[in-house]
């Protein structure tokens, strides 16, 4: 599957997503600037992304833990997600995310 990621400068990157891995891990492996300070434990809100172009609605709903953690993220929007909580899968092929401001 592919992930279409827009960085903070507006540059678009098409990166490979591996089934079962989190979108955060894919962004980080591609060298994109997600801090992911807690390493994917849904404990820091530094992998915050906006899921755009209709993809947000296709994702499973945020867990309570993610909703709570998003309180610690900045510039939260209706389509905000923590990318460590989105698991790559074939039905998300082409998912569009934008890395949120630091």
């Amino acid at each position: 599957m592919k992930i279409v990621a827009t960085d903070r400068k507006g540059q678009v990157h098409e990166i490979e997503g591996r089934d079962g891995w989190s979108v955060m891990e894919m962004l980080r492996d591609a060298g994109l600037p997600v801090a992911a300070e807690c390493g994917g434990a849904c404990a820091c809100a530094t992998c915050h992304v906006y899921v755009t172009d209709g993809w947000y609605e296709k994702l499973p709903a945020r867990s309570d833990a993610e909703v709570d953690m998003l309180d610690m993220a900045l510039a939260v929007e209706d389509n905000s997600r923590l990318s460590c909580q989105i698991t790559c899968a074939e039905d998300l092929d082409g998912i569009k995310v934008t890395i949120a401001p630091e």
Binding site: C44, T46, D71, M72, L74
Partner: protein, 340 residues
């Protein structure tokens, strides 16, 4: 006044704590500096309740439990902690020792400095509001150090965690007016604090708005209003003279960047024999160092601490011979541990 010791450790996370143990076995005394107000670093700040599965011999342990166990393990060596202080400057003295100065003015003089600072210092997150820097320290604050400074102010607090709730409750009686803004009607805070805040709001002692802060207005660093945006995107101006955002902490390398060490992408390059930086006497262990094959794992940091301690011994006690001993069989080690 300076404190003199054998080793100054920056960072009281798991690796800094275990370094105390390895140094202690070699009779080296340590002082630790940490910007947080308690030990454990990321383990207790970011994921106290999350299980860790890759600590040798502990199939499952939480960040808090690991920290507690390390504290128990190093207890015989009685380290001194300097909490809520940031390591601010490092300078070399004429006698060859190092002087580590914190932002509170504590000075630690030691022949060896060990940087076990993980990703750096935990600092408050700055909300992405244009021009906020101009107000910081004057009318925008990220912490409440002296409550008196907030007496009579028209305060706006933002956030939905324990800090936001606690300070809403504590500052309400002394503020001229206090408003809490949070983007949703739900909180990630102790239930009794949430209840208390709702009680205050119900009695008109504070205002609670479901909104986000979009812009700041004021002159010369003095705030006089902010623009708030509600869930329905409607925007309005809200008068206030003090803004305290609480969006948790993030990690920044901080002053270590100015210690004159050899850095690669905010990591300190070390050798893999001693885990010493290219500056003799300054070691780096745990997530903050880099070398070929480095893995950012707690267990790697433990190994690095053990080898660092061997090298540190020779710097602190250049004329003494170091004998390698096992805790299982050495009565002198067991005596140090208080078990013999």
């Amino acid at each position: 006044m300076s404190i003199e010791t054998d080793v100054a450790i920056i960072g009281a996370g798991p690796i800094g704590l275990f370094a105390v143990f390895e140094l202690g076995l070699l009779d080296l005394k340590a002082h630790l500096v940490d910007i947080l107000d308690r030990p454990g670093g990321q383990c207790t700040e970011l994921y106290p309740e999350k299980p860790i599965y890759d600590i040798p011999g502990l199939p499952i342990v939480t960040g808090q439990e690991l920290t507690d166990k390390l504290l128990e393990q190093i207890k015989p060596f009685n380290p001194t902690f300097h909490f809520s202080q940031m390591a601010a400057a490092l300078s070399k003295l004429e006698d060859g020792r190092w002087k580590l100065t914190t932002d509170s003015g504590t000075e630690i003089v030691a022949p060896v400095v060990v940087i076990a600072a993980g990703g750096g210092s935990f600092v408050p997150k700055r909300p992405p509001i244009a021009g906020i820097e101009a107000y910081e320290g004057k009318s925008v604050h990220y912490a409440v150090r002296k409550m008196e400074a907030f007496r009579g102010k028209n305060i706006l607090i933002a956030g939905g965690g324990d800090s936001a709730l606690d300070w809403t409750i504590n500052l309400a009686p002394i503020a001229s007016k206090l408003t809490l803004v949070h983007h949703r009607d739900g909180f990630r805070a102790a239930q009794h604090s949430v209840n208390q805040m709702r009680e205050l709001a119900a009695h008109g002692k504070i205002n609670f708005e479901i909104a986000s802060v979009k812009a700041l207005h004021g002159d010369n660093g003095q705030l006089n209003a902010v623009t708030l945006a509600g869930a329905d995107k409607r925007e309005w101006e809200h008068a206030c003279d003090t803004f305290i955002p609480f969006f948790g902490l993030t990690i920044k390398l901080g002053p270590i960047a100015d210690f004159g060490l050899n850095l690669t992408e905010n990591l300190i390059g070390v050798d893999t024999e001693k885990f010493q930086s290219t500056t003799p006497g300054v070691f780096a262990i745990g997530d903050i160092n880099t070398y070929p094959g480095k893995l950012k794992l707690i267990l790697s940091g433990f190994h690095e601490a053990a080898l660092m301690a061997q090298a540190a011994f020779h710097i602190v006690k250049p004329n003494e011979k170091l004998r390698f001993q096992y805790t299982t069989s050495s009565s002198s080690l067991q005596k140090k541990l208080g078990v013999a």
